[in-house]
Amino acid sequence: MTFDVDIDAFQGTDPVYTIAEEVFSAMIDGEVGHLRAWAGPEPTLTDEVHAWVDVRGPVQGRVLLSTEQPTARRITRALLAMEPEEPVGDADLADALGEVANVVGGNLKALVTDPGALTLPEVSHDRPETTPEDLIYALSLDWRGRPLVITLWNLP
């Protein structure tokens, strides 16, 4: 069984976007309107950081959230109610971005029939190994002017 989420079943709304928007408005921004679809050509990330959770069981898949270090630090400051220029440690960044991936992934898992269990989040500067043909879906987002990409992958 594959990790297919039936995007068309949501009557014109993108469930991945809807979930991401809920996560950012409820837990990061405290208000709606700061996360939107990326306009223009697909963004090229520099100084990348990736956070992901896997679904293991009858359905095997990965929810991967990719962004840039400065954006990840800004997300961390927002989640932890830190000052705008307060230094962000690597452990806090990994924990915060991992939790964002966990919440997005957990809610996406609920859209899959008989999905199995969610793994604990992982965070890395290196993109986890994936095979291009296993890409199910990609959504490029704009959070406060900077790119953030959510991708769904089938796992063997």
């Binding site: 409820a26 915060a96 939790e99 809610n107």
Partner: protein, 127 residues
């Protein structure tokens, strides 16, 4: 009142504790279900436990099951706060003895509303 916040994410523990403290709770944190269970065994007295589901060592469902099996902790209110949002998982948690269930992402208002339903927060704190 004292609340035990159980989540393997330090970020999430800080967020939840930050919501609870203005509502009148002293908070104690644990990074997984086993650490929380050990704290209770050591005599930690709490009125509320906020419990994540997916954690290393002992997960949230295991913690709820263990607490409900032991009469010493029958008065502890158990509130799951988790990304596990399938109906089947909610039923499992409630059947195991959780009193309430909050799905991440949540707002501070959602936590306050649940605590008010549970009678742990009065109207004046939730206003």
């Amino acid at each position: 009142m004292r609340a035990l916040v159980i989540d393997d994410s330090r970020t999430m523990r800080r967020i939840i504790a930050g919501i609870l403290r203005p509502l009148g709770f002293d908070t104690v944190e644990a990074a997984d279900g086993q650490e929380a269970l050990d704290a209770l065994e050591d005599g930690l007295d709490v009125e509320l436990a906020c419990i994540d589901w997916n954690m290393p060592n002992l997960d949230g469902l295991g913690f709820v099951t263990a607490v409900r099996k032991d009469g010493r902790w029958r008065d502890v209110t158990l509130m799951m706060i988790t990304t596990e949002s399938e109906q089947g998982q909610i039923v499992r948690a409630l059947a195991a003895g959780a009193h309430e269930y909050v799905i991440k992402p949540f707002t501070p208002d959602a936590i306050r509303d649940k605590l008010q339903l549970l009678g742990l927060v009065g109207l004046q704190e939730s206003a």
